[in-house]
């Protein structure tokens, strides 16, 4: 039968087990992953199985690295996410964290747009470091993503999104994430993409300030091609800030909905 070992097709005899594969291909490996599941146990394998063997502390050759990085994905996900193009409008607490998650997921093409530069008050929830202070957010994210997943394309655009440039900026994107802070900007982007870019899906965030229960943050489909994450009401205001946990929960909802849409799942439940 044929199986894949670290992404390479190999022929093995029909009664081969997982430990046989390890002992034959890399007996020093510390990590065995069978079809997305890491296990220390020996088990029967079958035709077409994907097996990943990793020796900890060893830098693998670049050409097998991507395969090893995606070994914990649910099988068949990788090819679909790799061919997706997703835009992110606004790279603050929502957008920067969404971008990192989608990069880890292996989304093949990201369009990251923000006019702003990183300043100290961003660091309480946004995916930036002290070393990024003063850099354009789009450039700082692109730099991080290169260290997380160098196998995807990242377009970093330092520009303010408005009604005149939305179509051009996000042309060809299957999905656009609305990740602004300002409610007028949110409404502008969502209305513009949905009314002018036929078929493009929008995943938005609204209501994730403070430290109320994280359980109130949900994903809802409220219109055709439109998904909104958040509790819908907890706005940032004087006396109520934006904190990493709830902002990240909301970003996680958005990123997961993006993944579901890429995989052809259009419902939220």
């Amino acid at each position: 039968m044929y199986i894949y070992v670290n992404g390479v097709q190999n022929q093995v005899s029909d009664k081969t087990t997982l430990l046989d594969v390890k002992n034959h291909f890399n007996k020093d490996a510390d990590v065995m992953i069978l079809n997305g599941f890491q296990t220390p146990d020996d088990m029967q394998i079958k035709e077409g199985d994907n097996i990943t063997l990793i020796k900890k502390g060893e830098m693998p050759p670049f050409e097998v690295l991507e395969n090893l990085m995606m070994a914990r994905h649910t099988p068949t996900v990788h090819n679909k996410v790799k061919s997706a193009k997703v835009g992110i409008a606004g790279l603050g607490g929502l957008g920067s964290n969404i971008a990192i998650m989608l990069a880890r997921t292996g989304v093949g093409y990201l369009v990251l747009v923000d006019f702003d530069i990183v300043e100290p008050s961003n660091l309480n929830r946004q995916s930036y470091y002290i070393s990024h202070l003063g850099m354009y957010k789009a450039d700082a994210l692109k730099e991080q993503i290169k260290q997380i997943n160098p196998f995807i394309t990242v377009e970093a655009i330092n520009i303010k999104v408005d009604e005149t440039n939305i179509k051009q900026l996000f042309e060809g994107c299957d999905i656009v994430c609305e990740a602004f802070d300002n409610p007028q900007a949110k409404a502008m982007l969502v209305s513009c993409v949905l009314s002018e870019m036929q078929g493009t899906k929008v995943v938005s965030g609204s209501g994730m300030a403070g430290y109320e229960s994280a359980n109130t943050i949900k994903t809802i489909q409220s219109m055709k091609n439109f998904y909104i994450c958040g509790d819908g009401e907890t706005e940032a205001k004087v006396g109520r800030g934006l904190m990493a946990p709830r902002v990240n929960v909301c970003a996680g909802h958005q990123a997961n909905m993006v993944l579901r849409l890429i995989l052809g799942i259009n419902n939220v439940d």
Partner: protein
């Protein structure tokens, strides 16, 4: 007509913009879908609502 799933009786001929203002929506913070299509924000006053219209309105709050 139906607004966010609720039946509303139209008393008179009214534009979408007037209806939204009368209902105390902040026009700069909403997205509106009419019968399955999202309405461009500049067109709220060009649309007159009808009895069998289905309107979905989403209001956004700040933070991100």
């Amino acid at each position: 007509m139906k607004v966010n799933g609720k039946e509303i009786k139209l008393q008179e001929k009214i534009t979408l913009k007037q209806f939204l203002e009368d209902s105390n929506y902040n026009l700069t913070r909403i997205a509106v879908e009419l019968n399955g299509d999202v309405v461009s924000r500049g067109k709220f006053d060009e649309i007159t609502l009808k009895d069998d219209d289905k309107v979905e309105i989403v209001s956004f709050v700040g933070g991100g």
